[in-house]
């Protein structure tokens, strides 16, 4: 399966610059690129030095609301070119418009009947302009910016050579404690891409940040082993009703009856196939789940989780 990495970030936050670095790095040879731009005149693809059949431009509008079919078709076109021997690549990067919400694209990859057997999610890289991010996060575009930051597996800081905003890394770590933070200018691009693909940063044990305007990131830690079936029923029910307010869920679970941990990874209503990890990252065997959410009270979330686990245990003892 071909990994598809989403490169997102706000307007002017340095997505194309990072993409140029990626395409210029021999370690990233074999990367096909899809570019989506908002507006009739597309510019970004002219800024990329390598223009060939592995760089495709999607023509219309903002990726999150109009081109889901086009995203799918463009990937299928790339795969067809590869099948014909006209393009050689083993990974795809999609550069989104600055206003895009990453979730619909991830959902397209996961739900499309053909794509789901051809590609897999290769992580989300969100570029964050180190100088202007605080303005983005407090202005009218706050909601879109927060969604992009929350969806990230890697937060790639750009423009770090210009006086970065003090305290920004701490602010970002509080917004998305599950993402790795790398420097888009100086860190190796292959490392940035790999970190996004792996996307398996172990969630921290202690997190509770209230970011104002109802945005919260919180970590729930569980001493008891988790009942997988009850967990699955609970999370699907929760995301059905509150998926638009749960920007991110990520966790590592100690499941009843399993030696190895299982990693859970979701963006809004989309949950990736659970990853069966080869081993525990350390001695701590407690399950932990990080939620980044808007307007949801963490204590209520915990009560709901615990109740469904109790139901799972009860069903088990009576079956």
């Amino acid at each position: 399966m071909i990994p598809v990495t989403l490169l997102t970030g706000f307007l002017g936050s340095g997505k194309t610059t990072l993409l140029q670095r990626m395409l210029g790095d021999p370690a990233m040879a074999g990367t096909a690129v899809l570019i989506n731009e908002y507006g009739e005149v597309a510019l970004d693809h002219h800024l990329l030095e390598r223009i060939d059949e592995t760089v495709m431009l999607m023509k219309s509008g903002c990726i999150c609301c109009t081109v889901r079919g086009e995203v799918a078709q463009s990937i299928l076109d790339l795969i067809a070119l590869r099948g014909q021997g006209r393009a050689a690549f083993d990974r795809i990067v999609i550069e989104t418009t600055g206003l895009a919400d990453p979730w619909p694209v991830l959902s397209t990859l996961r739900a499309h009947p053909v794509l789901q057997s051809q590609v897999r999610a290769g992580g989300v890289i969100t570029t964050v302009d180190a100088v202007n991010a605080p303005a983005m996060l407090s202005g009218a575009t706050r909601r879109e910016a927060l969604r992009q930051i929350a969806a990230a597996d890697v937060l790639a800081l750009t423009k770090t050579d210009l006086a970065p905003a003090p305290g920004l890394p701490l602010q970002l770590a509080a917004l998305n404690p599950t993402a790795r933070m790398l420097d888009a200018r100086t860190d190796p691009v292959a490392e940035i891409a790999l970190a996004a693909r792996e996307g398996r940063q172990v969630p921290p044990l202690e997190t509770h940040h209230d970011h104002g305007a109802g945005l919260t990131s919180t970590t729930m830690v569980f001493e008891e082993e988790i009942d997988w079936t009850a967990f699955g029923v609970w999370l699907t029910l929760l995301l059905n009703r509150h998926g638009d307010r749960i920007l991110r869920v990520k966790g590592i679970l100690n499941l009843k009856g399993e030696e190895r941990p299982v990693a859970i990874h979701g963006v809004q209503r989309l949950v990736h196939p659970p990853h069966h990890m080869t081993d525990w990252p350390d001695q701590d065997r407690r399950s932990r789940l990080v939620f980044i959410m808007e307007g949801i009270e963490p204590s209520l979330l915990r009560r709901s989780f615990d109740l469904f686990q109790k139901i799972g245990q009860r069903q088990e003892t009576t079956s």
């Binding site: 079936t229 029923v233 029910l237 929760l238 509150h242 659970p274 709901s304 079956s319």
Partner: protein, 106 residues
């Protein structure tokens, strides 16, 4: 094919992922498949009990929900379970609603 949206193959829900390398799945054999389906049905039925809705499978190929008046909904794919249940209940099913949790707890 999904009865709601016409999408083919939409039943690869993350809770019922096809067993493959690196992916956690309990569907490793027909017996395990049946055991997991039965366990899931027990938990879902408990979650739907406050709404007097029951959940089961239909000829082992689809899922079926039955409401208190006998009205049924048949669907393919767990993706649609809660949307169908809410349509049948005529209201939202909110796992963060304290009143719903109280009824579930009782």
């Amino acid at each position: 094919m999904c009865a709601l949206c016409g999408i083919l193959g939409c039943d690869d829900h993350w809770t019922a992922a096809v067993a493959r390398e690196g992916v956690y799945s309990r569907l490793t054999s027909p017996q395990a498949h049946r055991a997991e389906a039965a366990a899931r049905a027990r938990v879902v039925n408990r979650a739907l009990a406050p709404l007097r809705i029951t959940f089961g499978d239909w000829q082992k190929r689809s899922y079926v929900l039955r409401g208190p008046t006998g009205k049924t909904a048949i669907f393919e794919g767990l993706n649609h379970l809660w949307a169908e249940a809410e349509a049948l209940a005529g209201r939202e099913i909110d796992p963060l609603d304290p009143a719903y949790l109280d009824r579930l707890e009782g």
